[in-house]
Assembly symmetry: C2
Homo-oligomer: 368 residues x 2
């Protein structure tokens, strides 16, 4: 059966009450669906995206070359089988792919929000999705799946809306962002803020797309270090040098440097700097226990079956952090959770690139 | 007995023939000594410094507050006992603490070299030290000790000058810099080069000391991530936030962010940007096997007793890399080496801050 890829944007005029006490009003949410909703609406799977992801998680747009970011996992006869499930993926608020974010026109001036955009949290992102699903007449779903910041959302769904999802599958994430991850984000934040071309937030988006933004490229380079691992870099690049005659040239380059440069500067062509700052803020302050006395109290709200999947070489959100969630659940007597650690050298990126390492387990969870 | 700290600068007019084929001429080497040289000159210990270190590894200068960078290890009745040993530490060429580097006046114009400074390698740094020691009448030494880039120098001494040192102790380093470490350096390089205040290398040093250099601060932040570890950051900073009322302020700061900012910008007050670029280049192209058919062939040159010390949580130069050296030595039948891995949560920085974890082993090696 075809993927049946559809993209929509829904407009909301009611205020979205944010965790900060501020409101977002009005706002849009862009989302994508695949497969067909069955009659009793029991086949919905929600996919949550990571920091720089979007609602486009599967299939290929007409005229486009690159498939959605989890296309190896989602589709006809794939682990998340669109012949069977109706899959929805929304672009989070604060992002820059259609949902309302810092560069969206602000009501009523139509000028971009820029710094007037409120800080949004993972909880807010999840709340906005819940409101969207309500409008679509979907009041509960079969499963929610996400990795990295998507895994944060999946866990937050489990706590904020205990009766909403039958199964939650959270990959490569944590219960609260640790200083190590905040430190990586800090490099990006500092480099962007101090870049003169960022113009203190008053940049022209087109100028950045055309000329790049050094600070953002540098930040993305730091991001790539945190997404990869020493071993995956060894495998990918070794000590390959672009020009062996030029070893003693001060700016001669190793393959790994070319990779970082390319991906760093390319990033500035397709992602918005203010969205980046707002989303890393959301990640930095992510903490499942906020509003509760303890993590255990937060986790005790969970009614969904919870499945945690970590990757051994992930240096950004370490296996040990996922294991802590599992151990906390054990401690409070939760019987409906599993935790597996996947052997992989690919670091944090494994949840995107080594789908073959965990798709069997994912199918078992979904079919089980 | 007093430390007997003395600082000297030696001037050399003969050309230094560099690995690149270029020459450095004339050049200075600044060095420090502690303790007293015994009559048969058999009590010399050479200390090699890391990327941003200097010849000042022990004691406190008059009017200064901060002691030398390995003061917890070196001194009267310390592991490297200056009552017994005559300790020498030189500032490497390319650095900015007295030895000739890119901001030194170029002969005969007296203008700073800047980019006209030749690329120097770890092998060149070691060669320059060997020439200095010759001038001082020291033709062999009891031991050479270094960590990180200092550990690279110690290993390079063992290979370049097999009869020079009786014992080599190399900590927290590798046999060739891996793409993971090169990637961290790349962040600094890119951020510095593209910083408008760097003025393509034609900056005024005083202006940078006074106003800071964003690119260098950002690079240093990346450096700190690589020197620490997820666990040490947890212990040091946890998720402490500067102002809990301001959690939803876009630029509210976690303790770890303040630490990175402070150390990042402070760094620009005491280290030279061009020296930084030249030294990370030397680290990037460091490879013990260069000029040999293999690492094993290079290691087969070693005659000194070689002692390798790694730190379990070091994410910059991993234990596994040190172990590879040890395994290679086993393979080629070298009987005079030891390898130990120290349990520590402090990451790469452990070689500087957790001296108590390895000083006993160090004393055993030196006394053994």
């Amino acid at each position: 059966m075809p993927l049946n890829l559809k993209t929509y944007t829904e407009h909301f005029t009611n205020p979205l009450y944010l965790e900060s006490g501020r409101i977002l009003e009005p706002y849009d949410i862009t989302y994508e669906t695949y497969g067909e909703l069955n009659e009793d609406k029991s086949n919905v799977i929600v996919i949550c995206h990571a920091l720089t992801g979007s609602h486009h998680c599967a299939g290929v747009y007409e005229g486009d070359k690159k498939a959605g970011w989890w296309d190896n996992l989602i589709g006809s006869n794939k682990a998340v089988d669109t012949n069977k499930y109706f899959v929805i993926c929304t672009n989070v608020i604060g992002s820059c792919f259609g949902s309302t974010g810092p560069m969206s026109p602000r009501h009523p001036s139509h000028e971009p929000y820029r710094y007037k955009f409120p800080v949004v949290t993972i909880k807010d992102m999840v709340k906005a999705q819940r409101i969207l699903f309500d409008r679509l007449g979907i009041h509960s779903v079969y499963a929610i799946i996400g990795g990295s910041m998507g895994g944060m959302q999946a866990l937050q769904f489990a706590i904020s809306y205990p009766n909403f999802a039958k199964k939650i599958i959270s990959l490569a994430t944590t219960y609260a962002t640790q200083p190590w991850a905040i430190a990586f984000n800090k490099i990006a934040q500092e480099a962007i803020l101090k870049d003169p071309d960022f113009k203190n937030g008053y940049y022209e988006p087109q100028a950045i797309k055309e000329n790049g933004l050094v600070g953002m490229a540098v930040g993305r380079m730091a991001g790539f270090i945190s997404f990869l691992s020493p071993d995956s870099m060894m495998k990918k690049f070794d000590r390959e040098y672009r020009n062996t005659d030029g070893l003693y040239e001060l700016f001669g380059k190793y393959q790994v440097e070319l990779f970082l440069e390319y991906n760093g500067y390319n990033f500035t062509k397709w992602f918005d700097p203010l969205s980046y700052l707002y989303i890393i803020k959301a990640i930095n302050i992510y903490d499942l226990s906020r509003g509760f006395d303890s993590l255990n109290e937060a986790l005790s709200k969970i009614k969904s079956d919870l499945h945690l999947i970590s990757f051994k070489s992930d240096i950004l959100f370490r296996s040990s952090e996922m294991m802590e969630i599992s151990e906390s659940l054990d401690k409070i007597g939760n019987k409906n959770h599993t935790y597996i650690e996947i052997e992989s050298d690919y670091g944090h990126d494994a949840f995107l690139v080594e789908v073959d390492k965990f798709e069997k387990q994912l199918v078992e969870i979904l079919e089980g």
